[in-house]
C-alpha cells in the first residue's frame, strides 16, 4: 500500500512539475527537462537511461530554443518504435548509447552541453550517429507542430493554393515587368 501511495504521489508531483515547467518554458523560451521518468516508462525497447541519453543527444543534434522537450521526446519514441521492429536498430542504439557514455568516462547525460557536443563530434562518422540524425530529421521536421513553430504551413490544397493567398505578395522589392512575369490570368 505504501508503495502505491508513493508512486501516486510521485506521479502527481511530476504532473505538477510538467505543467509548471511547460509554462516556464513557454514564458522564457528556456528548455527544461520535466516529467522525465514519466515519459521513459512508455518506452518499449529502450531502457530509461537509453531514452534519456538519446533525448539529450537529439537536443544537441538539432537544437531549437523555441522547442521544448516534448518535440525531442517524440524523436526518441520513434527510435524506440523502430528498435521494436528491427533488431539491427536496437543493437545500434544500445551500442551507441554505451559509446556516448564511454568517451568522457562520465554518463553523456551528466555532461555539460559543450562536452556533449565534443562527444558527438568524435562519433559523427558512425552508423549510430547517422541513424539518429536521419531519423530525427524526419521525426522532428515532419512534426506539424514544429512546422507551426518555424513558420511552415504545410499543405495548401485545402485553401486552393497560394494563387489568391499571397504567392506574389513580397513587397520589399519592385515587381518584375509583365514581359518577365505576366499578371495572373
Amino acid at each position: 500500500m505504501t508503495k502505491v501511495k508513493k508512486l501516486k504521489r510521485r506521479e502527481f508531483l511530476q504532473k505538477g512539475a510538467l505543467v509548471v515547467a511547460g509554462a516556464a518554458a513557454f514564458a522564457s523560451g528556456v528548455t527544461v527537462v520535466a516529467g522525465a521518468e514519466q515519459w521513459t516508462s512508455g518506452l518499449k525497447t529502450l531502457n530509461p537511461h537509453q531514452g534519456q541519453t538519446l533525448l539529450a543527444m537529439s537536443r544537441q543534434m538539432f537544437p531549437h530554443p523555441q522547442l521544448d522537450d516534448s518535440y525531442y521526446i517524440k524523436v526518441v519514441q520513434d527510435l524506440d518504435a523502430d528498435a521494436g521492429t528491427k533488431t539491427e536498430t536496437a543493437r545500434l542504439l544500445r551500442e551507441g548509447v554505451a559509446r556516448l557514455d564511454g568517451v568522457k568516462r562520465a554518463k553523456f547525460v551528466t555532461l555539460p552541453p559543450t562536452a556533449q557536443i565534443a562527444v558527438l563530434k568524435e562519433i559523427d562518422r558512425t552508423d549510430f550517429f547517422t541513424k539518429i540524425r536521419n531519423s530525427e530529421l524526419v521525426s522532428l521536421y515532419n512534426n506539424h507542430d514544429v512546422w507551426k513553430k518555424l513558420g511552415y504551413p504545410g499543405a495548401s490544397y485545402s485553401i486552393g493554393g497560394y494563387l489568391h493567398h499571397g504567392f506574389n505578395d513580397l513587397n520589399w522589392l519592385p515587381d518584375p515587368p509583365e514581359s518577365a512575369s505576366p499578371k495572373p490570368a
Partner: protein, 522 residues
C-alpha cells in the same frame, strides 16, 4: 481498354510510362498500333496525391535499393539513393517541375565544338537541331509549354521576384518565368495553375503536364492500349536471329508472366533501362542485351547541379507557388572564357521545411544549422543545372552480390565529377550568390547536389555502332526491333532539363516505328 493475349506477338510492348514511354504509347495508339504498356508502379491520381513531402516521397519515388560509388557527393550524402525518380504510373512526369527547354545547336555537336576534352567521352549526336525542331514544336504544343504557341508565361511568385531583381542588378538580361509545362490558363482539359507549391509531390490541380493524366487516358480512348500497372519487367528475351520476342515481368502478386511482342521499347529511366539490358544477358549477348559496343550503362550523366539559397532580412515564403518559378538563361550559352565548356541554367527552387532540413546541408547538425532552418521563411533559392561531361567510367553496373526482391542484381551507380563539372559548379555557385547579394542577402548558402533527378546517357545514340547503343531513332544497333525511348539515349546532357527532349524524341520515334512497321522492316 484493350486486353491483348500474352501470346499476341503483334503488340508493341513499352516498358515504363513516364515522359518517354507514356508519350510513345499515346503516339503509337493514335497511329493505330496495338500497345501493351507495362509500369512497375501503381496508379495514383491528383485525388490521391498529398501536399506532404515525406508522404509523397514514399508514395511516388523509386525506393528499391541501389548502391553508389565514385567521388560525387551524392555517394556520401545519399549512398542508397543516387536518383530521385519515380515508381508510379506516369513515372517521373508526376514529380518533375515542368521546365521545358530545347537543346542548343552546339550541344548536339559537343565532340566537334568542345573538341577533345581529356577524360570526357564526347560524341556528336547523330541528329541535328534542325531535324529536331519540328518535333520540339509538336512536343511544346502537346505539353502546353508557356511562352510557346501563344501561351502566356506563368505569373512569378515571391521566389521569382527575388531572383529577378538580383539577376537584373548583376546585369543578366534573359530572366523570366520560364517555359513551363504548367498551364497559365486552362488548356487541354487541364486547369490553370493554383500555385500550390507542391509540384514535386504530384500536381493536385492537374495544371502541370504529366503522362498520367495527359497522354495515357488519350491512349486508352483509342481502345488500343493495354495498360498493366504494378508490372515490373525482369528480362527482355530474344530469338536466334537476334530479334526480341518477349518480355518477362512480375505482376503485383509477383507472378511471372511472359508477354510476346513484335517490338519492345524501353523507357525505365536511365538507371533501370541500362540495368534491364544488363540483366537480360544471354549466350548471344553475354555482356548484356544490345551491348556489343560495351556502352550499355556507361556515360551516365546527371547534370552539374547544386543550389544557392539566400537568407534575407524580410520574408520571402519561397514555398508559395510553383517550384521552378523562373529562370536566368544568360549563362546557358557557349562561352569558354569562364574556365569551363558548356553552359548552365539557373532556375528557382523551393523546398518545404521537411526537405529543407534534409537537403540544405546533408550531414550538418548543431546550432549553426538549426539557426539556418529558423530563417526558413526568409530564404530564396535557385538551382543550377548545367551540362556535365560523359565519362566512360561513370556507369550503371550490376552489383556483384546484392539482389532485389526478384533475385536480380541491384544497380550500382558510379559517378566521378569531371574537372569541367567542378569548375562549372564553382563558378555557378559564385554567380548564384552574386544574384542574391545584389538584393541584400544577409548570407548565401551553397547547397550540394540532391539525388539525381536528371538521369541520362546510359544507352547513348551514336552514328557508329561501336560508339553507342542505339541509332538516331533510338533503335538498338544490335537489335532492329528493340528501342530505347527515354533519356538513356542522350549522347550528351546539354544544359537543359531533359523532359522536353525526351518527349520530342518519343514523338519522332513513334513516327519511325509506325513507318518501319508498315513497311514490315520490324
Amino acid at each position: 481498354m484493350a486486353r491483348y493475349d500474352y501470346n499476341d506477338d503483334s503488340v508493341v510492348v513499352i516498358v515504363g510510362s513516364g515522359a518517354g514511354g507514356g508519350t510513345l504509347a499515346n503516339e503509337l495508339c493514335q497511329k493505330g498500333l496495338k500497345v501493351v504498356l507495362l509500369e512497375a508502379g501503381a496508379a495514383q491520381s491528383p485525388a490521391t496525391f498529398r501536399n506532404d513531402e515525406w508522404f509523397a516521397f514514399n508514395q511516388l519515388a523509386w525506393l528499391d535499393k541501389r548502391t553508389t560509388s565514385g567521388s560525387w557527393r551524392v555517394a556520401r550524402d545519399f549512398p542508397n539513393l543516387p536518383a530521385w525518380t519515380c515508381k508510379t504510373l506516369g513515372g517521373t512526369t508526376v514529380h518533375w517541375a515542368g521546365a521545358s527547354l530545347r537543346f542548343q545547336e552546339h550541344e548536339l555537336k559537343a565532340r566537334t565544338v568542345y573538341s577533345n576534352i581529356q577524360g570526357a567521352n564526347l560524341l556528336d549526336w547523330p541528329v541535328t537541331l534542325e531535324e529536331l525542331h519540328p518535333y520540339y514544336a509538336k512536343a511544346e504544343d502537346k505539353l502546353g509549354v508557356t511562352r510557346t504557341n501563344d501561351i502566356p508565361g506563368l505569373p512569378g511568385n515571391n521566389n521569382f521576384k527575388v531572383m529577378y531583381s538580383g539577376a537584373t542588378r548583376v546585369g543578366y538580361k534573359t530572366v523570366h518565368t520560364g517555359r513551363m509545362a504548367i498551364n497559365s490558363r486552362a488548356r487541354d482539359d487541364r486547369s490553370a495553375c493554383w500555385q500550390l507549391g507542391f509540384c514535386f509531390q504530384g500536381c493536385k490541380s492537374g495544371a502541370k503536364w504529366s503522362t498520367l493524366y495527359a497522354e495515357i487516358p488519350k491512349a486508352q480512348e483509342t481502345g488500343r492500349l493495354d495498360l498493366r500497372t504494378q508490372s515490373q519487367v525482369l528480362q527482355v528475351q530474344h530469338d536466334k536471329n537476334a530479334k526480341v520476342t518477349s518480355v518477362l515481368y512480375a505482376d503485383k502478386d509477383r507472378k511471372q508472366i511472359r508477354q510476346r511482342a513484335r517490338v519492345v521499347c524501353l523507357a525505365c529511366n536511365s538507371i533501370e533501362t541500362a540495368r534491364l539490358l544488363l540483366n537480360s544477358h544471354s549466350s548471344t549477348f553475354p555482356q548484356g542485351l544490345a551491348n556489343s559496343s560495351g556502352e550499355v550503362g556507361k556515360n551516365y550523366m546527371r547534370h552539374t547541379t547544386g543550389s544557392v539559397f539566400g537568407i534575407f532580412k524580410r520574408p520571402v515564403h519561397m514555398y508559395r507557388g510553383t517550384v521552378m518559378a523562373g529562370i536566368i538563361q544568360d549563362e546557358a550559352g557557349l562561352n569558354t572564357k569562364r574556365g569551363f565548356t558548356g553552359g548552365f541554367e539557373m532556375e528557382t527552387i523551393s523546398l518545404g521545411l521537411p526537405f529543407a532540413a534534409a537537403f540544405l546541408s546533408p550531414g550538418a547538425w548543431g546550432r549553426d544549422y538549426t539557426r539556418l532552418l529558423e530563417q526558413y521563411n526568409k530564404l530564396a533559392g535557385l538551382w543550377i543545372v548545367g551540362e556535365d561531361m560523359p565519362q566512360s567510367r561513370n556507369a550503371v553496373t550490376l552489383h556483384s552480390t546484392e539482389r532485389d526482391q526478384f533475385g536480380l542484381p541491384i544497380p550500382n551507380v558510379h559517378y566521378d565529377d569531371h574537372a569541367n563539372d567542378l569548375a562549372m559548379r564553382k563558378y555557378a555557385y559564385h554567380r548564384g550568390a552574386a544574384v542574391y547579394d545584389a538584393v541584400g542577402a544577409v548570407e548565401t548558402v551553397e547547397v550540394p547536389p540532391y539525388p539525381s533527378t536528371h538521369n541520362m546517357g546510359t544507352c547513348r545514340m551514336s552514328a557508329n555502332a561501336r560508339d553507342g547503343v542505339c541509332n538516331k531513332w533510338g533503335q538498338a544497333h544490335d537489335i532492329k526491333n528493340l528501342f530505347i525511348s527515354d533519356g538513356s539515349q542522350f549522347t550528351t546532357s546539354g544544359a537543359e532539363n531533359p523532359t522536353l527532349t525526351i518527349v520530342t524524341l518519343a514523338i519522332r520515334q513513334a513516327e519511325y516505328i509506325a513507318s518501319e512497321s508498315s513497311r514490315r522492316n520490324i
